[in-house]
Symmetry: C2
């Protein structure tokens, strides 16, 4: 960075041969997290991770971020310290330093994060390149974060290092995978799974002007496979895994950077998004992904 | 823009020989504007102008912006239409297109705007370059926006084209002036006046490690000069004029792009920021600039 926080604006050198990637995300108390349920450390970690996940979804790498923070006076002590600890860890892990921001006082905790990333010119992966016959892949396991959220809402006292909560509290953006897919030119379209497969896949299909057929039996759900884990894999949000399409004649490694890749279906010529059930029948895949407002009552 | 709204992130080509300018600003109901006092058209205009003013303050030009918007369902009809009208006019006027953003539902109107600008490498004007002996200048007139706010709070029904409200509702960032000052290399430090001279000047002095002496008699206050207009010129916020310092042996035109420039004092060697009163005595210039929370009761 040429100039960081403290002036009217930050200055960032540009690099020849690269495009800038720009993305911003709300992270609001009551909508995206609960002050008395989510550890402040996790709030700090996750507000940055979520925005960086959009950079991963383009095949890029993050360069820096801007933080807009509004806080009640009662949160400027211990809560803020813990929040900044989580944010600093994420920033260091992702090599994505703070460039600037804006702070004010408010009766609720409001967070907005802008991430500036970069990708070699012409190598960004968008949502619009999927073609009929392409294979549909997802990274990692689906539904784990939603299961963690359900557990969190049931628990009285949170243990932040509870392994069942890890994916919900401390997700990791798939940066290395996104960059690998961008570099190897097999991928036709890509996005991140932030709102759940049944919400996000139709978005990719709409952007590409195609349909899709998903096989229930192929979904990389969380262990203890049952009806509930299938539902979580289809509709659970907050996973920050990558959803991408690959030309039919291409093969992929089973894992990239330790993250398993699973073929879950194929792109079709119509506009319909359908699910093949475990019994083999086809049904429409209804959008039942993550709804930020449902959490309000939690 | 290589890729605008609708994908995971936006893509912006970078230009050799330029640095990116990054800035973001809150614009929150109850803190920065009042839903039932400020026309939605003005809210749309001003949320972008405020962030672009930070780009002007670096001597740069805006390239695009990201909009994060949280709205009550009751505002998605007429209010949103009017908001977008004001935002579109500002975007067109500033040649600063929408690149992307994030929207959600919320019980209050929350706005965050990120602007990405550019400046030739090495030509950005920061707050830290002022040296003892430099002349201190401001653009335009000071205190007009605060006077407009006071009028707005008294009024029952707003006429958005009331000339006394214009500076408060529809400020204009000093882009041409900022770029002129950057190009002519006479300016040693610069920032925009968003919180009032008595709040912002000490920030510039702290960044530069200097003090300042301001002459009350030189302040370009609003007409009908009296004690109240002097107070407004010293402490009124929201003017989005430029505050800058120029080496002592340099001269400036009286106006740039139609905006008058006024020498209001000089940089000093200590760390004190003092005001020379109309009677010629010196007193400390106390920080009494714009406080976003005062408006809450309005």
């Amino acid at each position: 960075m040429a100039l960081g926080p403290g002036d009217d604006a930050a200055l960032l050198p540009t690099r020849p041969g690269y495009q800038s990637i720009l993305t911003c995300d709300w992270f609001l108390e009551g909508t995206h997290f609960l002050r008395h349920k989510h550890p402040a450390d996790s709030v700090g970690w996750k507000c940055l991770i979520r925005a960086v996940s959009d950079v991963a979804a383009m095949g890029g790498r993050p360069r820096c971020f801007l933080l807009s923070l509004a806080l009640p006076a009662s949160c400027t002590g211990g809560w803020l310290d813990e929040f900044l600890r989580g944010l600093r860890r994420a920033s260091a892990k992702l090599s994505c330093p703070l460039a600037g921001g804006d702070t004010t006082q408010r009766n609720e905790i409001l967070i907005n994060v802008t991430v500036i990333g970069e990708v070699p010119t012409g190598r960004a992966l968008t949502r619009s390149g999927a073609r009929p016959g392409d294979a549909i892949f997802v990274s990692g396991r689906l539904g784990e974060a939603e299961r963690g959220l359900a557990r969190l809402r049931r628990m009285g006292r949170i243990r932040p290092n509870d392994p069942l909560l890890k994916k919900h509290l401390y997700p990791e953006p798939r940066l290395a995978l996104g960059q690998w897919l961008s570099a190897h030119r097999k991928t036709t379209a890509m996005m991140d799974l932030s709102d759940g497969l049944s919400t996000d896949l139709p978005r990719l299909c709409a952007a590409s002007g195609v349909g899709a057929r998903i096989q229930s039996s192929l979904l990389p759900a969380v262990p203890r496979w049952n009806h509930q884990t299938l539902e979580l894999a289809l509709h659970g949000g907050d996973d920050y895994e990558l959803l991408f399409t690959v030309r039919a004649n291409q093969t992929l490694p089973a894992k990239i950077d330790g993250v398993p890749l699973t073929r879950v279906g194929e792109i079709t010529g119509g506009r319909k998004v359908v699910l093949v059930t475990l019994k083999g029948s086809e049904q429409p895949l209804h959008d039942r992904g993550w709804n930020p407002f449902a959490i309000k009552s939690g």
